[in-house]
């Protein structure tokens, strides 16, 4: 199987991971990332569901603070998965907000914690490095979550306990 074929076949990983992030946000429990780090996931003001890989169907998009998730939940019950989600991550006592899209796990509109701005060339480089550190931190947490997801999802061919939990949750159980 060539690389392109493999990439197309595995696009579902992004959708399934984002759906699991929504589930995590509703558990309201910190997730242990190891090495003394933990992260809390919050659902933001944007959620888009689409047909699962290989299926056909329409998209469901919900947005805004007052949004009702009923329509999105109905989409889940009909077999749709999350294509894009805005989440908050509470990490190292800082708050980050970002939008993530499947299938590439593209990160956009990432809002970082504020950074003190000094003056002069040195302060400018410090600011760059601080931003790099913050971006690295949040992407590292995202990769940590993806790693935890994969560990559970690949536990057996049926997606392990992780998928059974996700299925119960998606059916409102």
């Amino acid at each position: 199987m060539d690389l392109l074929e493999m990439l197309n076949q595995k696009m579902f990983l992004g959708q399934e991971f984002l759906t699991w992030l929504w589930y995590l946000a509703e558990q309201e429990q910190p997730v242990d990332l190891g090495e003394g780090r933990s992260v809390m996931v919050y659902l933001g003001e944007f959620l888009q569901l689409g047909p699962a890989q290989g299926a056909e169907g329409s998209r469901v998009t919900v947005r805004g603070r007052e949004v009702s998730l009923a329509e999105a939940r109905e989409g889940l019950r009909r077999g749709k998965l999350v294509e894009a989600i805005r989440v908050g991550l509470d990490l190292d006592e800082d708050e980050y907000w970002l939008t993530i899209k499947a299938p590439g796990l593209e990160v956009s509109s990432l809002k970082l914690p504020s950074v003190d701005q000094g003056e002069g060339p040195e302060a400018r480089d410090d600011l760059l490095l601080e931003r790099v550190f913050l971006i690295d931190s949040v992407l590292g947490a995202l990769e940590g979550l993806f790693g935890i997801f994969l560990q559970g999802r690949l536990a057996d061919q049926g997606g392990g306990e992780l998928w059974r939990d996700l299925r119960r949750w998606s059916q409102g159980g």
């Binding site: 595995k10 696009m11 889940l76 499947a102 796990l105 956009s108 990432l110 790693g147 299925r167």
Partner: protein, 206 residues
């Protein structure tokens, strides 16, 4: 478009290929060779090159280096002249009118002459049109071979991938979930990963 100001939109890459041992010299030579060259006084429609991440007018990197070990932080500047087709059409017609006026009555312009006038119109307009500038932040972690581009736009990504490859003779691989997953699961997890198929959340009741 940025990594270093405001909210961040980015594309993640893995850098594939070997870096030379004298990294600083190599980078300096290559970045300067492919630094942005102005097309302000010309008729070129596109120019792409490296600039300081602090100021897209700085191609000498006067306000500090781009090498904040282990990171390389650069700006990619894109200057474009985009001629609206309707504008070319209008001025082409005016050129044709002028040319016809200088011909004896009843004589027509040949196809090749019309094409020549179209190209002349295009170049005249390009000369008068200042290019629009866009600057995109780039951050490359040379230790971990990861790179972030401060944009997710397809056309910007294409220009960047081409410039990066020409400059450093290294390949960029977008860090999509599948490749990231391969890295995260390690050698033992590869078999279940490759065998994994989409799962359904909804199971039809019998």
């Amino acid at each position: 478009m940025g990594l270093f100001r405001g909210s961040v939109t980015l594309t993640r890459y893995q850098v594939v290929g070997n870096l030379p041992s004298s990294l600083a010299d190599f980078l300096d030579q290559r970045v300067r060779r492919f630094a942005f060259r102005s097309i302000e006084d010309g008729t070129e429609e596109l120019a792409v090159g490296w600039v300081s991440v602090h100021d897209y007018l700085d191609t000498e990197f006067a306000y500090g280096g781009y090498h904040l070990d282990p990171y390389i932080v650069l700006g990619m500047r894109i200057d474009r002249r985009r001629l609206p087709a309707a504008l070319v059409k209008k001025y082409h017609r005016l050129e044709i009118q002028k040319a016809l006026a200088s011909l004896p009555p009843g004589e027509k312009l040949g196809r090749s002459r019309r094409e020549e006038l179209k190209e002349k119109t295009r170049l005249d307009l390009l000369r008068r049109l200042p290019p629009a500038t866009q600057a995109v932040d780039v951050c490359w972690d040379t230790n971990r071979r990861r790179l972030w581009l401060g944009s997710a736009t397809g056309s910007v990504r294409e220009l960047f991938e081409e410039l990066f490859q020409r400059t450093f003779e290294l390949t960029l691989r977008p860090l999509i979930p599948w490749l990231l997953a391969r890295e995260l699961v390690g050698p033992k997890g590869l078999e279940p990963l490759e065998a994994a198929r989409p799962l359904a959340l909804y199971r039809e009741e019998a």
